[in-house]
């Protein structure tokens, strides 16, 4: 029930946006998020965007994960 999936905003019309979910495009409601922007990713639950993904934070998290995955000797318990 609390499933939400990420998609990319392609167009914005009023409180709705056309969002691309990995090739499938669907109109969703964007009234629950602040400053929706074309080209950004949103997390969508039951046809409503519930959050815009914070790209800086996402990239930071991913970069940290990449470093961890690439460094064979690293002990994860010291990283958290």
């Amino acid at each position: 029930m609390c499933l939400a999936i990420p998609g990319k905003i392609l167009e914005i019309t009023g409180n709705q946006a056309l969002v691309d979910f990995d090739g499938i495009q669907q109109k969703i409601i964007i009234a629950l998020i602040q400053n929706p922007e074309i080209g950004k990713y949103v997390v969508v639950h039951a046809g409503y965007a519930i959050e815009q993904i914070n790209e800086e934070e996402a990239m930071e998290a991913i970069e940290q994960w990449k470093e961890i995955a690439e460094d064979q000797d690293l002990d994860l318990t010291d990283m958290l």
Partner: protein, 364 residues
């Protein structure tokens, strides 16, 4: 950022690293650890990817009351069924809800008897049905945790047509965590908290909880490595005797949560003591529609009272499974009389119900 960068979330090398660290920290801890999650989507990730089999046997990951369909009281479904018998009423709800057995029937059985029961993808679809059918009353049977609440709230405050109303069966997660901590025999060492509920409510409600009960909590995403990393983050807290709420899912969950959604929730709803199926009444465990919007409250509009209902059918163990006291395999009906095709209890119906997930992913 391209979303493909997120492939690292499924990197096997990363999985290996996390498991290695989990094993190391467990050797240092040298005791059994019980971790509970309260989200059907987390149980889905854990079961589908076989995460329990990757963990040392001293770590037990149990499933809590994380399926909103499962915790919806039979009396609320009975109410929808009674209203759905009327020819001038169309009942709308999420697909997961219509097969859940109530005291006598499910909504899908009512539909088979000729009632107009429709599955909607979101509450906006229910409003559209109301606009398209001005001579009918359209009731949206609203279930779900904080993730779903603002969707219903948004439609209620957007001036929907007067033939639209809501049975409000929404439930709130933090209150359920408090109740779980009060069950002595559970003795939970740490919680994996639901990422999308947290997207709405932010970190604060959990912080109050981890501070009050000295139990670590990690807000967690839904990829396998998210869940494993959360377990490691819990273990590290247990080892250091530092009990707080951490946010593993920071790529989506902001510390303050979704302020727009929170404002909509407090504008439209107020928290109430609320019954959870098989668990009992939980203080501040649910929501009701505020008087300001009472014309959209189906309870007030139709004044239906259900005198007697049956939450747990004879032999069913859903109440014990939802509080982590029993595993589905220990229920005597599981896989025998209770199957996804013929569910006896609510946990076998929804794709997020613990029994339904165990039926699909675990062998006998």
């Amino acid at each position: 950022m391209e979303i493909t960068d997120l492939n690292i979330l499924r990197s096997k090398d990363f999985t290996d690293k996390i498991i290695k660290s989990i094993n190391k920290i467990m050797r240092e801890l040298d005791k059994s650890i019980k971790i509970m999650h309260v989200c059907g989507t987390h149980e889905h990730t854990i079961s589908k990817y076989g995460l329990r089999s990757l963990l040392p046997k001293e770590i037990e990951v149990i499933s809590g009351p994380g399926c909103p369909v499962c915790v919806c009281p039979a009396a609320d479904i009975d109410k929808a069924i009674e209203l759905g018998r009327r020819e001038d009423i169309i009942i709308t709800t999420f697909g997961d809800m219509i097969r859940v057995p109530a005291s006598n029937l499910s909504l899908s059985e009512l539909k088979a008897q000729g009632a107009d029961v429709r599955i909607v993808y979101g509450p906006n679809d229910a409003v559209k049905i109301a606009k398209d059918n001005p001579n009918k009353e359209i009731i949206f049977f609203a279930i779900g945790f904080e993730t779903t609440v603002p969707l219903t709230g948004y439609e209620i405050k957007s001036n929907p047509p007067s033939n639209f109303s809501v049975i409000c069966a929404h439930k709130l997660i933090p209150a359920a965590l408090e109740l779980l901590m009060s069950i002595d025999q559970l003795s939970i060492d740490g919680f994996i908290s639901p990422g999308h509920v947290s997207t709405i409510i932010g970190i604060k409600p959990y912080k109050l909880f981890s501070d009050a009960y000295h139990v670590p909590n990690v807000i967690t995403g839904f990829e396998p490595n998210d869940v494993l990393l959360a377990i490691l983050m819990l273990l590290k807290q247990i080892k250091n005797k530092k009990f707080e709420t951490l946010n593993e899912y920071s790529r989506v969950v902001k510390p303050e949560g979704n302020i727009v959604a929170q404002k909509i929730i407090s504008e439209v709803f107020e928290s109430v003591s609320s019954p959870w199926r098989g668990i009992g009444r939980i203080l501040d465990g649910g929501l009701m529609i505020k008087d300001k919007y009472e014309k959209y409250d189906a309870d007030k509009k139709f004044d239906i009272k259900i005198e007697k209902s049956t939450d747990i059918p004879p032999g069913c163990s859903c109440h014990l499974i939802m509080t982590g006291k029993l595993s589905p395999n220990e229920c005597k009906l599981f896989r025998k009389t209770c199957t996804p095709l013929n569910p006896v209890g609510p946990c076998m119906v929804s794709m997020e119900g613990t029994c339904s997930i165990y039926y699909k992913y675990y062998s006998e």
